[in-house]
Symmetry: C2
């Protein structure tokens, strides 16, 4: 394996983990590590602080360095740093999902021009091998669908809401105390993190560029204990699902939202902070890959894995192509959420009145929606009742219309939630 000099951008939890793992490989030499704050106390044994710099361009412009490892995150200054690195002929290994989802195509074009490669196994699902397998050993497949749990924080919260019957707020607080969720949890709980990851996965799976701004995104903040309980009674668990699929007309449907997942489905069995990816392809059929989606060690597995593959490739060629078996120059035609077809779970509050269920059925029927289950969940003090409806497959726009009509009726007090269902 070729000997490589590397520079690391970012030395937080992941950067430190990468550094620890790299110590096992004699052929990899860490020359410099860029940090924000040189004076921050770091509890690492046998660490030579002269490796540190607070100027990342000392790394990107350093002629001794072959590969830049970026584990800092965020779009800026990461974009400018990687652009500089590529312009100086460095190969890139990055874990930065946000940067790749938002500005990846600019970086990939530049890398192609400069004859360097960008590897990013760690950007999606931490330690689970998915990017390189899709680009190499699964390359005979036409991948038509990905359905995945790509955010450990939200899966942890939803698991605790289910198993310990906690409220969303209490489960979030526990996740924060355990370090699974950040002080500002928006990036996780509103689905941004999962959206970046499914954008990357869909791009390489469908060989088309995905516009992150066209991904429908809905987080888990509106999921209530009642939803979790009703789902359980109906044989489902609620999961934040990141999904991408190619429709029969060639259009692409990419989205992130909570779903009721049938208990027998393998994705329903994925608990706590674990990630899991279900991929459907022809000829391979269905694959499910499950493992740790975050954390210093699993992420380091993927970062160092990319680096070692690169070192192996550079042993025999100056033009490594380990990830270039597939390519994606075409732009996907992404559809709007209103044009998608789903099964639905709808929770609404109605006046406790014998006609309410009949009226709901009528409005749904007029909007081409077949109901498969309808349950009244007990009567409130104000003589209203929660009603839960499960529909057969219907068009989202029709469902939204039906809900609007229902809200116009004095019998319907509130639409509590609308969730999609995976059977």
């Amino acid at each position: 394996m070729k000997s490589l000099n590397v520079g690391i951008i970012g030395f937080g939890t992941v950067g430190t983990g990468v550094w620890e793992v790299l110590k096992n490989f004699d052929n990899i030499h860490v020359k410099k590590i860029a940090v924000k704050n040189l004076n921050k106390k770091r509890e690492i044994e046998n660490f030579d602080t002269s490796l540190l710099t607070d100027n990342p361009f000392e790394i990107t412009e350093n002629s001794e360095i072959d590969v830049v490892i970026e584990v800092a995150g965020g779009t800026q200054p990461a974009f400018d740093i990687l652009k500089s690195a590529i312009n100086h002929g460095k190969h890139i290994v990055t874990a930065n999902k946000e940067l790749l989802a938002k500005r990846g195509s600019e970086l990939f074009s530049l890398a192609k021009e400069k004859n360097v490669i960008i590897l990013y196994e760690a950007a999606v699902a931490g330690g689970i091998p998915i990017i390189m397998p899709i680009k190499t050993i699964l390359c005979a497949n036409k991948i038509t669908k990905i359905a995945a749990i790509l955010n450990g924080t939200t899966n942890y919260i939803l698991t605790k809401m289910d198993e310990k019957e906690l409220s969303y707020e209490t489960a979030l607080k526990q996740a924060q105390e355990l370090g699974y969720a950040e002080t500002d949890p928006t990036g996780d709980v509103e689905g941004f993190d999962a959206a970046y990851k499914i954008a990357i996965l869909s791009t390489i799976s469908f060989n088309k560029k995905i516009d992150i701004n066209k991904i429908y995104r809905e987080g888990i903040t509106k999921i209530t204990s009642n939803d979790i309980k009703s789902a359980r009674e109906l044989g489902y668990r609620i999961k934040l699902i990141a999904m991408g699929q190619v429709l029969d007309n060639g259009k692409i449907d990419v989205r992130v939202h909570p779903m009721l997942v049938a208990k027998k489905h393998l994705l329903a069995k994925v608990k706590n902070a674990t990630n899991s990816i279900m991929l459907t392809g022809n000829p391979v059929g269905d694959l499910v890959l499950t493992g740790a989606g975050a954390g210093a060690k699993p992420t380091a597995s993927s970062v160092v894995g990319d680096l070692l593959v690169l070192a192996s490739e550079l042993e025999t060629t100056n033009s490594p192509l380990p990830q270039a078996v597939c390519n994606h120059s075409e732009t996907a035609e992404q559809i709007l959420i209103g044009d998608t077809y789903n099964d639905y779970y709808i929770s609404l509050t109605a006046s406790n009145n014998p006609g309410a269920i009949g009226m709901i059925g009528t409005v749904f029927g007029e909007n081409n929606i077949n109901i498969s289950t309808i349950m009244q969940k007990g009567i409130n003090h104000d003589n209203t009742a929660e009603i839960v409806v499960i529909t057969e497959t219907a068009k989202e726009a029709d469902v939204q219309n039906a809900l609007k009509e229902l809200l116009n009726s004095p019998r319907i007090k509130n639409i509590n939630n609308l969730l999609r269902v995976m059977n």
Copy 2:
């Protein structure tokens, strides 16, 4: 991607599947297909029968052919054919687990000498990407354990015995009728197939040569409906587990046998003919990869995947090394089953006598075995009773001793079964 001429050895279900998938790739040209019987009727559309030969050496010695795809199976004549192919400078893509497990190291040595590579993703777990990921993107890991369901036939039989409460014989017959099991099912039900696969997986995971003859192997033919039922009551499902692990002393423990798997374990949730591999490594932690382990299409996914990776590699170098990141020249020191430590499920028939359970407890205690559960399962007509014991972790040799002692007692009529337990 480089244009490649290929020859295919074997044109049964898998060979035909590979041929169908290859039609999608303009850069791959099938020049010849070797079959046993030229006159066999083949129901394939648009097939030019002049491609067929009954002499495989017409392929291996053909100077136009770059890669030989072997999907015939068995050790002979496959070994001689691949040896000839390698000697003539052909790269190899094979799905032949038996050949690789028994004579792989001879072929790999010859391939190294001739500067060609052997790819074999399809030899283990059909369409599940596992060989190439271990050799590339997971290469930063020290893999310490593999526990897997690698044989679809036995998993199908065990699933039906559990869900439909069928006897082993009835479930086997159904599997045969559905084409999941062969007329002579020995290779599957006695664990040979799983043993070949775990030998290959352990070799690349632990970077040491595994001797197939030193793998402890036990099939599923002795599993009874009573075992399945008792396991279910205790919170387990019975699965044929192929296992490999590195012990603290560096010795290697590789074996195939049925196990009681705790229902909450992901491997317990794998049903019917599906395969699943749980891999434990540092730094990645636990990964579980699940998918179709056999069948024409999933196998073709891996065969053609290997071929496309090779075509991509050969575009930039004449010395492709996609699978050479790790290597394994050292021979593993494999331990005997008697030296392994396990939790146990033991079913025995005892005379229905108040002292029987006490005596079992005493004999186990004298052999350093702690019992965690002991259950009497009802009384037979002859005034005997089935007793099921679950032990804590104990040494296999101690357990075998205890069972011998018990059999010497007139109170113990029979040891019905001994199975190991995975929690």
